[in-house]
Amino acid sequence: MRSRRRATVIACFLAPSLLIFIVYRILPLVWNVVLSFEYWSPLHPATWAGLDNYQEMLQDDDVFWLALWNTLIFLGSQPVAIALALGIALLVNSDLKGASVYRTIVFLSYPLMTVAVAIIWHWMYNERGGLINYALRQLGIIHQPIAFLDSFAWALPSIIIANTWQVLGFFMIVLLSGLQNIPPHLYEAARVDGAPAWARFFRITLPMLRPSVFLCLVIGMLNSFSAFDLIYVMTNGGPGHATELLITYIYKQGFVSTRFDYAAALTVAQFAILLLLTWIAHRAVGGNAGAIE
């Protein structure tokens, strides 16, 4: 009796959230899966396409592979950002005077609207009015201004830097909390054993931080697969497809080229890749992705 009542309560508690996710996430995913096996655009009745869309994607579309590659590079930048954030977290994780001020400063860029972040950085990189070109020229590092966002070599790294600037603070906070949860007696014991600082870091800090690092990795991964606003405003995938990520390519195929069916196949592929990566990350931290669950 009691347990049944509790089951009802649980169901009622979960229902509203689940409903929203089913309606705005799961249903659209199903829609995309179905669509990926069809030919369809608004006004054109759907016809069966079998694996045509997937075949085109895998065999015939080098932009897909380029976008995937760029996405992976973007993803690869996340551990770097996490390492940087860890460095900062270690610096502010103490009774250092003003630590909270530093923390706030580093975190300040996270709550910003991404569209606005894109506008700010677009301006920072500007050849004439931008701070970066000016600073580099003043310091004598370069002699001619670089059109960072128009350059095949620089565009993607430039966007990655803007992105890192925005998420760094978030990573830092997550890692900081991980650091604060490490019991101090572990360090004392190690100190008594005469372990040097680097050994303490690798034997205690890093292993104990595993859940926080995992969380950062997952968030960094999601972020790499959904960094749409930044690119939409800063480069729109250009020059060429140098900054095309899967997510921008999906959007373009759907709304610019009116190929919603093909975009659906790309969406399903991206979803599968994300699932796979999550599973790998899950295994890599020892089978129990306990950080979230």
Binding site: A7, V9, I10, F13, L14, P16, S17, L18, I20, F21, Y24, R25, L27, P28, N32, L91, S94, L96, Y102, R103, I105, V106, L108, P111, L112, M113, V115, A116, I119, I120, H122, W123, M124, R128, G129, G130, L131, Y134, W165, I173, V174, S177, G178, L215, S226, F228, D229, I247, Y251, G254, A264, T267, Q270, F271, L274, L275, T278, A291, I292, E293
Partner: protein, 268 residues
């Protein structure tokens, strides 16, 4: 002592790098020079607020601000109620709990850009196009925030909950009287994150609003760009005006927010 000095130096350098874009934004916003002049001035030349006045006249700023606030408030309220309930439910043992968690986590893997058309059709079906509720609906509950609540609730001592049960408190009361009062950081995190996400949302309002009266601030940004392109300081003044409210909310709630984020992130 020397070590401490070194730390401060490193952190000051980092702070300067992190703050530089803010400074450059502000400098450009209050400047009256030709912003494309080279070399740019490090300090604003003849600082003035004219750009802000420009923005005020080109965009119905108060209206957009009001809309953004209403939508964000709905989203924040929804997130608090729904996430707390869902997060609490997930701390209780029940059949299928694991599948629910997996389902929720996989939901985070679906990018919004790929859901626009079905999401639009569903919202149209509900008759919520061009309405505040329609704007807020997809953001009414967020997965990360559910898990932040769950982690916070998990950290509440078992004995306290058991005692409450023995006292005959129902689940709803346990949530309201025991769990939530002990979870202020999680609440703060929920407020800030759901506020930020709703405040910053761009593509969804673009699609589902029609009338001028329903536009939110990020759309104002697009509207502004169509007036001026990015050729004057006015754009940057507008960016400042759009960012300020979000930053203000964050600064006010920051200490609780950071605590909430940290307990949510790693406990449990």
């Amino acid at each position: 002592m020397r070590k401490l000095w070194w730390r401060h130096a490193a952190l000051i350098v980092i702070s300067i790098i992190m703050l530089a874009p803010f400074y450059w934004l502000l400098k450009t916003a209050i400047t009256s020079e030709n912003i494309y002049e080279y070399p740019p001035h490090l300090l604003p030349v003849r600082p003035q607020l004219f750009n802000f006045v420009d923005v005020w006249y080109l965009i119905p700023f108060p209206r957009y601000l009001f809309n953004s606030i209403v939508v964000s408030l709905i989203a924040v309220a929804g997130n608090l109620v729904l996430n707390a309930m869902a997060g609490f439910a997930l701390t209780l043992p029940f059949v299928g709990r694991r599948s629910v968690i997996v389902l929720l986590l996989s939901c985070t893997l679906i990018p919004f850009q790929a859901t626009i058309i079905p999401a639009y059709l569903i919202t149209a079906h509900l008759g919520l196009l061009d309405s505040y509720l329609g704007l807020a609906l997809p953001l009414l509950s967020t997965i990360v925030c559910i898990f932040i609540f769950k982690a916070s609730f998990d950290a509440v001592p078992r004995s306290l909950i058991d005692a409450a049960r023995i006292d005959g408190l129902g689940e709803m009361r346990i949530l309201l009287r025991v769990m939530l009062p002990l979870s202020t950081p999680a609440i703060a995190t929920n407020i800030v994150l759901s506020f930020i996400w709703s405040w910053n949302n761009f593509l969804w309002p673009l699609i589902i609003t029609r009338s001028q009266d329903m536009q939110t601030l990020p759309l104002g940004l697009a509207r502004f760009l169509s007036y001026m392109e990015d050729t004057t300081g006015a754009l940057y003044a507008f960016v400042v005006m759009v960012l300020a409210p979000g930053l203000l909310v964050f600064l006010m709630a920051q200490s609780a927010f950071m605590r909430g984020l940290t307990t949510g992130a790693t406990k449990g």
